[in-house]
């Protein structure tokens, strides 16, 4: 489908490219500045290619000041645990609401709709007091537990399960499968698009979350990536932008690479979870 290059198209492409350049500018400067030494950064030149490549020095600083592997590992552990718990809790509940008859289904639906309204910020104060009383601050439990329930997950799976044909489930029942078996071996494999979409939504949200980790974690060994950036900023105090950009680069890279590798899934996931209305 090659159209002739009209004036309108040239204009559109120019506009899109200019916008793209502006949107990419932070990334370009991040990569460029991560390779500059202090004196070059303070000369405030706009040249993008570092004069003497200081990448090694900056990355060494970034890696030694805050334990990057530990941060990334914490991020993976916390996001992984949250995701697994959310799916394990939400899928059976959504299945029961969508395909089984029971009295509480309607009340449960109302609870889910109300739950969608309540963000972690609203529940944070009582939860903090409770975790403090239980001496659970600075632990993976504190980081993960409040997110083990995702009403949004229930909502998303519910929509998806409702559209699934009942015959599939009847056939499995006739084969003598238990309801739990049906969930594990019939529903989940068939709901894979919904599960991936939800996984992307959940991981992006919790990898980025600063509010809750900031509240429950003061010990660096439990810090998640966003918290690590704050610790790094605090430790740096000055304007060592070279090392800061190197640290930023390391910490941003995992999710960006995941996005670039699975862009279609990412965009689908976000659109699907976005158009929940």
């Amino acid at each position: 489908m090659t159209q002739p290059l009209t004036l309108g198209r040239v204009f559109r492409l120019a506009l899109l490219s200019l916008g793209a350049l502006i949107f990419l500018a932070p990334y370009i400067f991040m990569i460029s500045t991560a390779g500059k030494d202090q004196s070059e950064i303070f000369s405030a030149s706009l040249s993008l290619i570092p004069q003497h490549f200081a990448y090694m020095a900056n990355f060494t600083k970034a890696l030694t000041r805050v334990s990057m592997p530990n941060l990334l590992l914490n991020g993976v552990i916390v996001c992984g645990l949250i995701l697994v718990l959310q799916v394990v809790v939400a899928v059976p509940c959504a299945y029961a609401m969508a395909k089984l008859k029971f009295g509480a289904a309607r009340i449960l639906m109302a609870a889910v709709m109300l739950g969608l309204l309540v963000p972690i910020h609203a529940a944070a104060l009582p939860l903090y007091v409770a975790f403090d009383k239980l001496a659970l601050l600075n632990s993976y439990t504190a980081l993960v537990a409040p997110f083990s329930i995702s009403v949004f997950g229930i909502f998303l799976f519910l929509q998806f399960f409702r559209a699934m044909p009942d015959d599939l489930i009847h056939a499995a029942r006739l084969d003598g499968m238990s309801e739990a078996g049906i969930v594990a071996r019939v529903i989940v494999p068939n709901a894979w698009p919904a599960v991936t979409a939800f996984a992307i939504f959940s991981v992006v949200a919790h990898w980025n979350d600063l509010f809750w980790p900031l509240i429950v974690v003061t010990n660096q060994s439990y810090a998640t990536p966003p918290l690590g950036v704050l610790f790094f900023l605090a430790a740096e105090a000055g304007d060592d932008y070279g090392a800061l950009m190197a640290a930023t680069l390391i910490i941003t890279l995992p999710l960006v690479i995941a996005f670039l590798l699975a862009q279609k899934r990412f965009v689908e996931g976000i659109t699907m979870t976005g158009l929940k209305g």
């Binding site: 949107f23 990334y27 449960l108 309540v118 900031l214 950036v229 930023t248």
Partner: protein, 304 residues
């Protein structure tokens, strides 16, 4: 008689069995929902009527005292106002840009994937980390933005360091971060519009692109636009990461925003009761926004 009664009770037992299994499958979710959503929400409302402070053993009910204090609390009022200004800047701009970019990308066969990736990239990036990059870009003396402005003889402001510009600085970051999300939602909305409508509009005399947009695209995008608007407003009201990372509400409370103020009062000063009252106000704002959305949705004409 027995012949008739038997199947009925069999059906009943089956139904009871089904209900029991359903309860079993839903029970972990129900318990967790109670523990982590319902009870904390009730607790926050109750705490809002107390003078509870973490570290002190006892507390008492003070009625509406916290709310009375909130009304005269200058920091809180400043915070509400700043959040409103921030939302009023970020929401419309990120919606218009998101829609504009979506339309441009849809009408241009070349580079569709590339542009979509680029504009979406900020959504998939760690905001706290990218905020530090913006801090560098905005640096008054060595930052690339002001260096660039200086090329044209413009003396750039101290973006995040001056109370007159800090909200704009944060808004720019907020817009940069949310345009891609809105764009993707609009692109999904655009692909759902049947092509025939455009040819029909053309037959009816809608010759220019603007006419086609006004007569077909805009009305058909109605539900998408409403949804994007609601989610943009809610996300703007929830701004926290950039404030905490870059400004800590400063300078001089010029960037105090709702969630940051709640965080500060509740988790730094540990005035849990007072911060709970603030949280109730925050929740009330979210509820009002949702009600507004449903109201609009009810009145909306659905074309599809």
């Amino acid at each position: 008689m027995a012949d008739i009664a038997l199947p009925v009770s069999a059906v009943e037992t089956a139904a009871r069995r089904e209900a029991r299994i359903a309860w079993l499958l839903a029970s972990p979710a129900i318990v967790l929902m109670l523990v982590f959503i319902v009870l904390p929400t009730i607790a926050v409302i109750v705490l809002g009527f107390t003078d509870f402070e973490l570290g002190y053993g006892s507390f008492r009910f003070v009625g509406l005292e916290n709310y009375a204090d909130l009304i005269s609390d200058r920091t809180f009022r400043r915070s509400l106002w700043n959040t409103t200004v921030y939302t009023a800047i970020v929401t419309p701009i990120s919606i218009v840009l998101g829609l504009g970019i979506a339309l441009l990308i849809e009408s241009e066969p070349r580079g569709r994937n590339f542009f979509r990736t680029v504009y979406f990239l900020p959504v998939a990036s760690l905001l706290v980390a990218m905020a530090t990059v913006w801090q560098y870009l905005f640096h008054p003396s060595i930052g690339p933005l002001n260096t660039f402005l200086a090329l044209f003889g413009i003396a750039g402001p101290n973006w995040l360091g001056a109370s007159s510009t800090v909200l704009y600085g944060l808004s720019i970051i907020g817009i940069w971060q949310s345009v891609g999300f809105n764009m993707v939602l609009f692109m999904a909305g655009l692909t759902a519009i049947p092509r025939e409508l455009y040819s029909a509009a053309e037959v009816d005399g809608a010759q220019s692109a603007i006419d086609r947009f006004r007569l077909v695209t805009w009305p058909m995008l109605g539900p998408t636009t409403l949804f994007v608007t609601t989610i943009s407003v809610i996300n703007s009201v929830k701004v926290f990461e950039t404030v905490k990372t870059l400004t800590e509400g400063g300078p001089n409370k010029a960037s105090e925003m709702l969630l940051f103020t709640i965080y500060q009062e509740g988790f730094v000063y540990l005035k849990v009761g007072y911060a709970s009252a603030m949280t109730v106000v925050f929740l009330a704002i979210l509820v009002v926004l949702m009600i507004l959305q449903y109201r609009f949705l009810d009145r909306q004409v659905h074309y599809t």
